[in-house]
Symmetry: C2
């Protein structure tokens, strides 16, 4: 190969967009060079502010992302967008390729937009996102916006990867509050009621505030604000940026930023270790042994625990 990892890392540190993109491709492809890349990147500052943006389809995540880019570029920050496909294990997420691409920012050098697929990697997002974030951090990015299509597990994974998680809702979506019940209340650091010029915005805000008050944990030390926006016109986006800044200040002052980063490192190391063990278990010869065991279990001649224990002993 003509360009080796150290050269690409050097290029990324100097902000060369092509080198950043190539490093992220190595990560997405699960290249054997990823461990060397991670070793080269280990001594980075962890300076970038990582903001997750999640919510059901149709609430305006892409428009809000675009509005945040505009606001952050206006104060001179270097912004990266990671658009995350949930990458169904069946379709590979290919059908989602038609999403909005935020054309208006495509030629701004301070903005780097990258669509990431997790391509069936073990742990999906949780495996590749922290690695990509380490590249972006090394490249001197100020803000990384992680946008997800917002279905189930990917929301939780985005929250796990982010310093600040924005949960977007829109008025009049029947399932918005029901979805909120299923876990987004716990992951939101800032709630955004977008499309706030529509009927029902105030009642959505009220319902949300009630649910936040009900679920409030005094030990958490941060009460998630609810911000109304009309991202398509920019209305309320300044208030949203202020809320994000306030959350960041709280994270730093309370020590929670450090806590979250250590927790993320723990999750990442554990996921990698489990992946290594799983490879040992199910690759090559292990795969045949696993298939044989499965046939025995399906035929009722062996129970699954005994089969698993035998595989582990032999791994």
């Amino acid at each position: 190969m003509s360009r080796d990892v150290p050269t690409l890392v050097e290029g990324a540190r100097n902000g060369r967009v092509r080198d950043i993109a190539r490093l992220i491709s190595l990560i997405e492809d699960g290249s054997p060079e990823v461990p060397a890349l991670m070793r080269a990147l280990a001594p980075t500052s962890g300076r970038a502010s990582i903001i997750g943006i999640t919510g059901s389809p149709g609430v305006g995540k892409s428009t809000t992302t675009a509005a945040l880019i505009t606001a952050m570029r206006a104060r001179g920050q270097r912004v990266v967008v990671l658009a995350v496909d949930p990458s169904s294990p069946f379709s590979g997420g290919a059908l989602l390729g038609d999403r909005i691409r935020m054309q208006q920012h495509a030629t701004d050098e301070g903005v780097f937009i990258r669509s990431m697929a997790s391509r069936g990697h073990l742990g999906g997002l949780s495996a590749t996102t922290p690695q990509a974030l380490r590249v972006l951090d090394a490249a001197g990015c100020d803000v990384v916006l992680i946008e997800t299509v917002g279905v189930g597990q990917s929301e939780i994974e985005v929250a796990a990867a982010a310093d600040t998680t924005l949960v977007l809702l829109a008025p009049g979506m029947g399932d918005s509050i029901q979805a909120a019940k299923a876990g987004i209340l716990e992951i939101g650091d800032v709630f955004v009621v977008n499309k706030a010029d529509r009927d029902g915005a105030d009642s959505t805000v009220r319902e949300l505030r009630n649910m936040i008050a009900l679920g409030e944990n005094p030990e958490r030390g941060w009460k998630p604000p609810v911000v109304k926006t009309v991202a398509s016109t920019g209305e309320g986006v300044d208030r949203l940026v202020t809320a994000i800044d306030e959350h960041r200040s709280w994270l730093q002052a309370s020590g929670e930023l450090e806590v979250r980063r250590v927790r993320r490192a723990r999750d990442e190391v554990e996921a990698l270790a489990v992946a290594m063990l799983r490879r040992r278990l199910a690759a090559g010869e292990g795969s045949e042994r696993l298939s044989d065991a499965a046939a025995e279990v399906a035929a009722g001649r062996l129970d699954p625990h005994t089969a698993a224990a035998r595989l582990v002993e032999g791994a």
Copy 2:
């Protein structure tokens, strides 16, 4: 303990509902007796027909489940419903406890309704569901309906556990087709457009049929039908039952049933083996070593791959 596993298994085989329920509780709690239970259950027939029911909130999954119970009871089948909470890692799913409980069937002895929580078990549903299914199979159930709240990952897990997966949609839900793109097209064996008395039902059916035709895989040998129902009045439920029966006949005639069951056994054995390895990695002393490694990685003194490799060597 007063009732041991063999006695409970004997009771379950005789159809004693309390014994079935206690065995499933052992599984949910991850009891140390589960391996012994699985050994006792290994020689079972795999006779029960397992039907997964999935779809977004509000499409009428519980009503459809109730209508299917009525239809299947009418032909004398013993029916079990497993209602699956997605069990957010944050809320434990407790907020979802208010769902419909299908009261009208609560006193019918041929119906057993059980809400299952995955309680943060590794692999969630994929770990506990096959074990519960083995209990129900041993107890002589004819049909197991697995109902999920239908968000992201749990849909895929239900499809993986079921012989036949029903994907429910309703007209006029903005995100129905968008959700379909994200993977449900691939998991549906039968599509149901419920609430078909509403405006837009025919166009939803048409859109679905188009998408199915586009994604059609001739090697699959089964073209998923689209059935219109109004589950609340029972309209179309006979056609739905016929579609389920036809899919079952195809599964048996084509050998696909056996293929799916071996694949499920393989997934189950692999999940158990990974869980055993993970326990070895992160429990007790391992947990401390993992925390130390995470602190080093967060501080930039160590890269995550090296940290993971050291943990694996020491496990």
